[in-house]
Symmetry: C2
Subunit: 419 residues, 2 copies
C-alpha cells in the first residue's frame, strides 16, 4: 500500500503538466477517460459486485441500491464525463483588465487551483464525476471514497488512469488513496502545501469533521434544512403544488424542503388542503404519504405528529415535513435565521413588498420567490454541472460549477516600472 | 469585562441592521466616524501615550514608532475613512443574470459577508481602516488588536462607536474584544456561526496559528518571500533599477523582494553592477546598504555573505537580499515553486517567450513582467484600498479590496415552478 503522503506528493508533482494543457488536450483526455470507462465496464461491474456483497451484510437496501452499478449506470458515468468535455473551459478567462496611469497592464486571469482533494461517501459515480470536473478545471485531484465502495472506486480509477495515459498525461493526476482507515482522511485534511482545496461530500458528520479538523482550505457542502414560507397572500393552489414538489420529488437530497412556515392568516385555508394533498391524496395516487410534524398552532388546525424539540433543526431526508404557523413575515425570517443551514429558502407570495423583504433579509445561498427549493442544482442553474452545493460564504456559495473550481492570479506587465 | 462570546453575539445581532442599509446611509455613517476620529483626537492621543510608555519598556524603537500616533496620523486615519466612503458600493451588484427555459430568473447578487473578525498586531490605524472597509462592505466587524496597542485601539473604537450612533446605527456593529489574553483570539478562531470570515493580519506566527486552529473560514494574508528572476535577456539598467526598488523602497512590507535569481549568462555582467549599486553607491547616496547573501555561484562573482541554509526561505523584511545563480528559466521556475510563499514574483526579460512561460508556470498571486514586486497593493492595483494581501487560493488572491469582502447569493424568481 502506498502511503497517503506519497500519493499526495505524486499528484502535486503531476499537477503542473495538466495546468499547462490547453482546452483541446483536456477534452481529448476526457474523451479517452469516457472510452475507458465503457471498455472496462466488466472489471468495474465485477469490483462493484464484490462491494455490494459485502455491503449487504451491513447496510440497508437503500444504501445498497446507491452503491450498486449497472451497465446503464456506467454508460451514464461515461456520458457525464463527455458532457463535462463539452462545457466551456473555465481556465484562462480574463476576469478584469486595466491599464494603470503608470503604464502597468494588470490582468486578473482564472487559473487552476492546483490539487483538489475530495472525501466522499457511498455512490461510486462520484469518482468519475469529480475527477472529470477537477481535470476540466485544470486541477489534479486526490480521491478518498467511502470504504463500502472501495473496490468499485479502485476499478473506476484504473479506467481513468488508462484514459489519462492514452491521452499522454500522467496517471498521477488522479490520485487514489489506498489507506482505507480514518487516518487517510485526517492526512488529507492536514496536507498543507499539498492540497489547495478540500471538498467533503457526504453525511453531515463527515462535513463537520472536515470543518473542525481541516488545516487546508475547505468548502462546506450540502447540509440543507430548507424552508418554505407561505405568506398571507400566497396563492393556495401554487403553494400546494410547490410544497409537495419541494418535499416529495426527491426527499433524500439536500435541496428538498424540510420545514414549512405558514402565515397565520392563510393557515386555516392552506393547512387542511395541504394535509389532504400530502396524506390521503398521495395514498390514493399510490405515493408515499408525508408525515407532518406540527407545532401547537398547526396542530390546532390539522392532524399530525406533535413536533419534538429537534424537528425544526433536522435534515429529515425523508417523507417528513415540520410545520409551524407564524405571526408575520418578520417572524418567518427570524425563524429561518435561527434554524436554517443557509442552503435554500422560498417564499410563496403575491405581495411584491413581502417578496423583496424576504429576498433581501434571508441570508442563504439561494433565496426563491414562488418556486420550489429543488432547483438549487448546478444543472438547473445553468452551470452545466456541479461539484456540490456550498453552504458557506467564502469563495463559492450555492452550486459549485467549473468556474468555482478555479482561482485567479494577477498578471502585471510593465517596462521597468518602479514604485 | 464583557466576554468574547457576548461581544460576538451582540455584533452578529446588529449585523442585519447594516446589511439593510443603502449606500448613502453607509457613507453618511463613515463620514460621521471620520468626524468623531478628529473630534476625539485628544482622547486617542492620550490613550496612545499610555500604550507608548508601556511599550518603551519592552519593544524596540521601530515597533514603538509603528505604535505611536500623532495628530497627523489621526488626520490620515480620518481621511482614510472618508476615502472608503468615496469608493463604489460593493453590495448589490448583479454578477450574473439568466432566464432559464422554465421561466425562472436566476440572479447572482453580491451581498455582505455578515460578521468579519480581524486579529491584528501593532499599528492602531488598522482599527479604523479595517472597520471602515468592513462597514462599507455591509458587514459588522469584530476587532482584536495587539495588546501593546490596546488603549489606543479602545479610544479609536470609542470614536467609531460615537460616529455609528450619531448616524443612527448600533455601536455593536464594531465589536471591540475586551479580553487581552490569548484565549480571546482562540475564541474568535472557533466562533462557528458567529464569524463568517476571519482575517489575521500581522506576523507569520499569528497567521500560522489562525490557519492551524481556525474552525471559521479564514483568509491567509501577507507572508511574502517574493522573487525577482533576471533572465538571460534582461536589460541590465532596468534590472538594476527594479531590483533596487523591489528590495529597498520599503523593506519591511510583504511585497518587498527577498530573493534574486540570476540566469548564468547574465550573471557576470549583472552581479558586479548590482553589488556596486546596492552597497557602495547607496553608501555614497547616504542610504542603508543591502547585505547580499550569496549562493556559491554568486559568491564566485561578487563579495558578500555566504548564504546559510534558511536564507532562501526567509522573509527578511530588512536590507538583506538572497542571491542565487541559476542555469535556466526552468531552474528559476523550479526554485520559485519550492521556496515561494505564493505572493509576488517578477521576471526581468526582453524575451517574450520567457515572459509567457514565467507568467503561465509561476503559481503566485501576482506575477510580474519587467516591474517591481512592490506594486502588489490594493491602491496600486486600482482597488482603491485593501484589507490585506491573500496568499491562498480560496475566495480572494492578492490584494483584497471591497469586492473581496463580500459574498453573493442566488435570487431565483418564478411563478410556481416545480421540478
Amino acid at each position: 500500500m502506498r502511503s497517503t503522503q506519497e500519493i499526495l506528493r505524486q499528484t502535486k508533482a503531476a499537477a503542473p503538466r495538466l495546468a499547462a494543457a490547453g482546452p483541446e488536450q483536456k477534452n481529448a483526455m476526457l474523451r479517452a477517460i469516457a472510452a475507458h470507462l465503457l471498455d472496462e465496464k466488466a472489471d468495474i461491474l465485477a469490483a462493484n459486485r464484490a462491494d455490494v456483497e459485502t455491503a449487504r451484510e451491513t447496510l440497508g437496501p437503500v444504501m445498497v441500491d446507491r452503491l450498486a452499478l449497472t451497465e446503464a449506470r456506467i454508460r451514464a458515468m461515461a456520458q457525464g464525463v463527455l458532457d463535462v468535455a463539452g462545457l466551456p473551459d473555465p481556465v484562462g478567462r480574463v476576469l478584469r483588465r486595466e491599464q494603470r496611469p503608470n503604464g502597468l497592464v494588470i490582468e486578473r486571469i482564472s487559473v487552476p487551483m492546483g490539487v483538489i482533494a475530495m472525501i466522499y461517501e457511498s455512490r461510486p459515480n462520484v469518482t468519475s464525476d469529480a475527477a472529470a470536473l477537477a481535470l476540466k478545471a485544470g486541477s489534479a485531484v486526490v480521491l478518498r471514497g467511502g470504504k463500502e465502495a472501495w473496490q468499485s472506486n479502485a476499478a473506476i480509477t484504473a479506467a481513468i488512469h488508462h484514459g489519462l495515459e492514452e491521452a499522454g498525461f500522467p496517471a498521477a493526476l488522479v490520485g487514489f488513496i489506498e489507506d482505507r482507515s480514518r487516518q487517510s482522511a485526517r492526512e488529507l485534511m492536514a496536507a498543507e502545501g499539498l492540497v489547495d482545496l478540500l471538498i467533503p461530500r457526504g453525511s453531515a458528520g463527515l462535513i463537520r469533521s472536515c470543518v473542525e479538523n481541516a488545516k487546508v482550505p475547505c468548502i462546506q457542502t450540502g447540509t440543507g434544512i430548507c424552508h418554505i414560507y407561505a405568506d398571507a397572500s400566497a396563492d393556495v393552489d401554487t403553494a400546494l403544488r410547490v410544497i409537495e414538489n419541494a418535499k416529495t420529488s426527491r426527499p433524500s437530497v439536500c435541496n428538498a424542503a424540510e420545514v414549512l412556515l405558514v402565515h397565520q392568516e392563510i393557515a386555516p385555508a392552506l393547512l387542511p388542503a395541504l394535509h389532504r394533498r400530502l396524506t390521503e391524496e398521495r395514498r390514493v395516487r399510490g405515493l408515499p404519504p408525508v408525515e407532518l410534524r406540527l407545532d401547537p398552532r398547526a396542530a390546532a388546525l390539522i392532524p399530525g405528529t406533535p413536533a419534538g424539540e429537534n424537528d425544526f433543526d433536522t435534515e429529515f431526508l425523508d417523507y417528513i415535513l415540520a410545520v409551524a404557523v407564524v405571526d408575520s413575515l418578520d417572524a418567518a425570517i427570524a425563524h429561518i435565521a435561527r434554524h436554517s443551514t443557509g442552503h435554500s429558502e422560498s417564499i410563496l407570495t403575491r405581495d411584491e413588498a413581502a417578496a423583496a423583504a424576504f429576498v433581501r433579509r434571508v441570508d442563504s445561498a439561494a433565496v426563491y420567490v414562488n418556486a420550489s427549493t429543488r432547483f438549487t442544482d448546478g444543472g438547473e442553474f445553468g452551470l452545466g454541472c456541479e461539484m456540490g452545493i456550498s453552504t458557506q460564504k467564502l469563495h463559492a456559495r450555492g452550486p459549485m460549477g467549473l468556474e468555482e473550481l478555479t482561482t485567479y492570479k494577477y498578471v502585471v506587465r510593465g517596462n521597468g516600472q518602479i514604485r
